[in-house]
Symmetry: none
Subunit: 138 residues, 4 copies
């Protein structure tokens, strides 16, 4: 194996485009949301708490974003039976709550987005709108 | 959407009125309580631990107050099946334990109150007495 | 030495009397304050953040109350040269900031009060008003 | 004193306007920044870490934003001699580092902005650009 490999990272232009698209989608649904975007190491790149969103959903949205970035898959991919055990072993950092999606561009995993304050379906819809805004992989 | 919106906040006169009413209600029940009052962002405005109340109930009372302020509803509104998952994803901050109520005046959410050390019914009764003292919405 | 000794503790009636007196004194000064009262083990018995007080002063007021309860003396009794070292060694829990006073009744140390958001002189004046309200030792 | 008082809060439209203006100002300076916006109780409303900004500056930017919101003044208003003591007593939450400004609209304190990763002067310039974008008081 080579000592280094090429990768990509998400710029702040990408983050702003995602936040704007997520807010627009949440406004269209009439459901204020907390939206958190992290890089491939789980560090926050950007976030917004919409007017009327639950302030504690910032924490669950962050957990969703970090989980999705860590596993490279939607948070809901974690098997239901395993969720309490993995949550306990990671201090709650790995969550199976719906609303966390990986950010992958041209097949390269570059981060995760987590959305929380609505139903799981609403959270996922808002996250997908953000991914579309930067042409991320489905 | 405008850059700012009008809202209300709870004054310390309101907090003292709530604490006094809660203590009186708890004394009438013969059940010492921990009572915590937070603002709409979950920051503590006031609290008291009554003589004989469990000191660790300060923590659960705080979680109840913050949860109610965050969701704008009683803590018991959180669906039972979701509780362990949401608790884990928020480091235990979101709780479904009875005894947390939102503080809403003229329809405006201005905070939350959490009561702990008694049974769920006792905790809720004490919280309701505090809300009545300031003419908060039911 | 006997295996147990008699002591006293501060009731919630005492805590409410102290909070009310402190708030009245702060209103008379025109300086909103954060006021924290702890027991002889440093556990919070009661607190209030007045309207317009700095929310981060809750933390320093808590440190002042715990320091005074721990050392059984005003926070300012800690020698100036030692302050940074003791603060570092206790994670900031021991503070020499003015505004922390021990609560002592009939010579028995039963807790501490910490006040923060004003000048050190204002903080100390408000703490003294609270002590007077329960007939605590000077 | 009434039990509630009227106030204002910053909407997410305001937060997005501030983040966009801050990013534009930082790009014009050629200095990537971490920008954090909090409400009047210090809870995060929005943040962005620009491409090339120091990731640990997220923490100092958050402390700057919370300090400015708490004291209702620029972080640099904290007297230099007091800084180490107040920082210690608040677990590092109160900072005198330049780059934190209060957000005040029509005289009402509604939050704080913290900027970090550049020099103090650059941080302050970027924060001021964000305030201008929503017509906040100087």
């Amino acid at each position: 194996m080579a000592f280094t490999l090429d990768t990509k990272h998400l710029t702040h232009a990408g983050v702003l485009a995602m936040l704007n698209a997520a807010v627009a989608a949440a406004e269209a649904l009439g459901q204020p949301q907390c939206i958190v975007i992290v890089d491939a190491s789980g560090e926050v790149l950007g976030e917004i708490r919409m007017t009327g969103a639950k302030f504690l959903s910032r924490k669950s949205a962050r957990a969703k974003a970090r989980t999705a970035a860590s596993i490279g898959a939607p948070t809901t991919a974690i098997p239901e039976a395993a969720r309490p055990h993995i949550a306990a072993a990671t201090g709650g950092e790995v969550t199976g709550l719906g609303g966390g999606l990986p950010i992958r561009v041209d097949g390269v995993l570059i981060g995760g987005i987590g959305v929380g304050s609505g139903s799981a379906d609403q959270d996922i819809d808002v996250a997908k709108a953000a991914l579309s805004a930067i042409g991320a992989d489905d």
